[in-house]
């Protein structure tokens, strides 16, 4: 009865609702996560609400050719000792409530992140290298000792532990938090559409929390570079699954959609001119517990390194939704070294030799092992399951290894990785900022894996702080050579995503870049789209 009453009530309530008509220049695009907490990138990255990064203006950003561009920051300089960076903000930047956007809003964002628990704190510690970051997050030093200073309303000074020549790239993920609004509402300013104010090219017009869908509208107060060209942008995660997105795309409900492996042949046949490819700056690799048998033996790991036919894997099983990976860096990514990548060849004879050298000729005596991968949405969902089956077959065929596969939810997978509940994993990683240090950081001194390879760590440290780009690249290559010589990881593939873009979409962001790819990067993408 209770349920019936509620049901009757719901009927009455719903009958009054109707969807608003779409405005001119309005685009509907798929989002990622159907749950989101705070509309504030600086409060949480992994659980942020849809559109958080389109509402605020970062200091810098990248265009589709990955050229670094100043957004809120008009200019930046590095001190002679390389330890201090000074960023100058543009004139005329304001919050959507009319209050001026100042350096305090940026400094406050990171001060709060360092003191209140931020799920992206590693980034500002490792990538940012901000002075005293670690001490402040651990409560051992006061927040005033952080290497951050609002010198005046327009000037931000950042001091790092060691020279960070790539800091302007790192600050592409540094968004402001409206201090005056936070003083009134605390963190809850970012949970309520009425109190969310914005500094970027869009304002928040509506936010359905139940599925984390938002409608953004062009900000009337934004004066910086890259203003919105669209009147309205709907980002709706319920279109995110290609199975849903593709049919909605065909019915005209959404202007772009991701494709899964099964849909690609259909799309190539029917919508060939609407396909947009993107080489994601990401890598999938095998990682080991280097201290547990049988993977504590470098020869076993090398055997696996040579037992994978990456060309066969990508061209057959993966149907070209990925390209072979010989390096942790993607072709086209700064610092990519083709000579490093060329070493990852398929050589079954060599693989067998290493196996025999390790004491397991033709896999005899080798224990049964299990490889763990995590269930994911997005491009990885199409890659990881078939790839693990390919590896299973290949390791059996070439090495005589019996390997079973376990697919698990992300949290369980991460728990297994961190607490060493298994010794063999497939791990994917996508870049956060455009510098080789990003990928080298994941193997640095217990970063993501419990890897402590002294020679590697020292080279990465030197590379990170070296001001001369050519020397840095050389040092990173040497560091990667150490990884290869230790066979600490087995690089597998770099993903390629495929999307359909409606032919009504226009603007710079809808057409491919110099490499023929159409990346959907940060602040650039949403502000460089138009619709006829």
């Amino acid at each position: 009865m209770n349920a019936l009453l509620k049901f009757a009530g719901a009927l009455v309530a719903m009958a009054g609702l109707s969807a608003p008509a779409l405005a001119q220049g309005s685009i509907v695009s798929p989002g990622q996560s159907s749950t989101g907490t705070y509309m504030d990138y600086m409060k949480t990255v992994y659980a942020r609400a849809t559109g958080s990064e389109s509402l605020q203006v970062p200091l810098t950003s990248f265009d589709k050719d990955f050229t670094l561009t100043g957004l809120a920051a008009e200019s930046w300089t590095q001190s002679a000792d390389g330890l201090t960076w000074t960023f100058k903000l543009r004139d005329g930047l304001v919050w959507s409530d009319g209050q001026p956007l100042t350096s305090t809003d940026y400094v406050f964002a990171l001060q709060r992140a360092a003191t209140s628990g931020y799920d992206f704190a590693w980034y500002w510690d490792f990538a940012g290298g901000i002075k005293n970051w670690k001490e402040v997050t651990e409560g051992k030093a006061d927040v005033s000792t952080l290497g951050l200073k609002a010198v005046d309303d327009k000037t931000i000074e950042v001091t790092t532990n060691a020279p960070k020549p790539y800091l302007p790239s790192v600050v592409s993920l540094w968004y402001p938090v409206p201090k005056h609004q936070w003083d009134k509402y605390g963190d809850d300013w970012a949970t309520n559409i009425d109190t969310v104010i914005t500094s970027g090219p869009f304002i928040l017009k509506s936010w359905v929390k139940t599925n984390n869908a938002v409608v953004l509208a062009k900000s009337p107060t934004y004066t910086g570079p890259w203003p919105a060209q669209l009147d309205e942008l709907t980002i709706d995660p319920s279109f995110g699954d290609p199975a849903v997105g593709m049919t909605a795309y065909m019915a005209g409900d959404v202007d772009m959609t991701g494709l899964n492996a099964g849909q690609i042949p259909v799309a190539e046949q029917r919508f060939a001119d609407q396909i947009r490819k993107n080489a994601v700056f990401a890598v999938s690799y095998i990682s080991f517990d280097l201290n547990s048998p049988p993977f504590d033996n470098v020869d076993v790991r090398k055997a696996m390194y040579y037992a994978v036919d990456r060309n066969e894997l990508t061209s057959t099983v993966l149907k070209n939704i990925a390209v072979p990976a010989g390096s942790i860096l993607t072709p086209g990514y700064p610092g990519y070294n083709p000579e490093i990548a060329a070493q990852a060849v398929y050589d079954p004879a060599k693989a067998k030799e290493f196996m025999a050298k390790a004491g397991y000729p033709d896999g005899k005596g080798f224990p049964d092992v299990e490889i763990w991968y995590r269930e994911e949405g997005g491009y990885n969902s199409a890659i990881l399951p078939p790839m693990s089956q390919y590896l299973q077959a290949k390791f059996k065929e070439v090495l005589g290894i019996n390997m079973s596969i376990k697919s698990m939810p992300t949290k369980d997978w991460m728990d297994g990785l961190l607490n060493k509940k298994n010794n063999l994993f497939i791990a994917p990683y996508e870049y956060d900022y455009l510098d080789p240090s990003n990928f080298f950081g994941i193997f640095y001194n217990g970063g993501r894996h419990d890897y402590h390879i002294d020679a590697y760590d020292k080279l990465v440290e030197q590379a990170d702080s070296n001001p001369v780009w050519e020397e840095r690249v050389k040092l990173y290559s040497q560091a990667e050579q150490v990884l290869i010589d230790n066979a600490a990881i087995v690089p597998l593939v770099h993903p390629i995503t495929m999307m359909l873009f409606s032919d009504k979409l226009g603007g710079d962001a809808a057409s491919p870049n110099k490499q023929g790819f159409t990346p959907q990067v940060g602040a650039y993408f949403n502000t460089h789209l138009t619709k006829q």
Partner: protein, 309 residues
């Protein structure tokens, strides 16, 4: 009767308590917490701060008692997935779409299923029976996401009669309601057919026919009523199961409903929401079975709720 209901309410309280303890323990036994599972591990200091913010640094029994004390006052806490609102506010937003579509699905599917089952039983082993049984078998065996996909392809993409998905205007409700109706329709068709065949073969039907009652009165007044017990048994649990939303139907039709929260609360280790959903559904099922038992007595005077005949 009143004593019986009181006794049953007592047992519901015990069930509620046992379920709450079991679910609470299982929930916390799953590896990883609400802040694990990101691409890079959290440092201990950061993790400790985040856990303390949600009170997860306290001993488990304290967390349980705090939560249940809140529940007794109808405070189910704040969902980790959606700070800025309470669990009850989240349910108030997410449930109505599921209740509307799922509820209508059952309310439309079940009577149609009964009609189909009746037709099959009364025209046993004819083409009507074969078609009805075929529909029922298909409805139960084709996964609901396949039915949903086919509905979208046919009615939205090919015929262009209805919107593919979304929420808001009533024309967007039609396809998900049909998808929701498939299982109740199929289930009811099968139950009704077998229960009616069973009843039709009983001696009292022959006696009624011998008395000269019209076939219509025999079917509607006697056979249907005597076949109703299994239909009553499945109705409320089916209603609850469907009206709390299906993750598949809601994902395919992009309904901002409750279905996905059953999964996302576990995936995100959203303890308050997970507990709230399990406790509320437990309570609803307990009450549904109680109401079903009472309905048995009303339908068949020979059944006494206290177990005496």
């Amino acid at each position: 009767m009143i004593l019986y209901i009181l006794k049953r309410l007592g047992s519901i309280a015990v069930t509620f308590f046992v379920v709450s303890v079991a679910v609470f323990l299982m929930m916390h036994a799953i590896p990883g917490g609400p802040f694990d599972g990101n691409d890079m591990p959290l440092s201990e200091a950061v993790r400790a701060k985040l856990m303390a913010r949600l009170g997860l640094d306290q001993p488990l029994y304290v967390q349980y008692l705090n939560y249940m004390w809140g529940v007794l006052q109808l405070d189910f806490g704040v969902p980790y997935q959606s700070p800025g609102e309470t669990v009850l506010q989240l349910l108030a937003n997410a449930w109505p779409p599921s209740l509307l579509l799922g509820g209508l699905g059952v309310l439309i599917g079940a009577p149609l299923g009964i009609l189909l089952g009746m037709a099959a039983a009364l025209r046993r082993n004819t083409w009507i029976d074969y078609i009805a049984s075929g529909i029922a078998t298909l409805g139960l065996t084709i996964p609901v996401f396949v039915i949903s996909m086919l509905l979208i392809l046919v009615f939205a993409v090919w015929l262009n009669w209805l919107p593919a998905s979304g929420w808001g205007k009533p024309e967007r409700w039609i396809l998900p309601i049909i998808a929701y109706a498939a299982i109740p329709l199929a289930t009811y068709a099968r139950y009704t057919r077998s229960a009616m065949l069973d009843t039709l073969n009983r001696p009292f039907v022959t006696a009624l026919r011998a008395k000269g009652l019209s076939e219509r009165r025999i079917i509607f007044q006697h056979v249907l009523r005597n076949s109703a017990i299994p239909m009553v048994t499945v109705f409320l649990p089916m209603f609850i199961g469907t009206a709390t939303g299906s993750i598949f139907v809601e994902a395919m039709f992009r309904v901002p409903g409750l279905g996905s929260f059953f999964v996302s609360s576990i995936e995100n280790r959203d303890y308050p929401l997970e507990m709230a959903l399990v406790l509320i559904v437990t309570l609803m099922f307990c009450i549904a079975y109680l109401l079903s038992d009472i309905a048995y007595a009303l339908l068949n005077p020979r059944i006494r709720v206290e177990g005496r005949q």
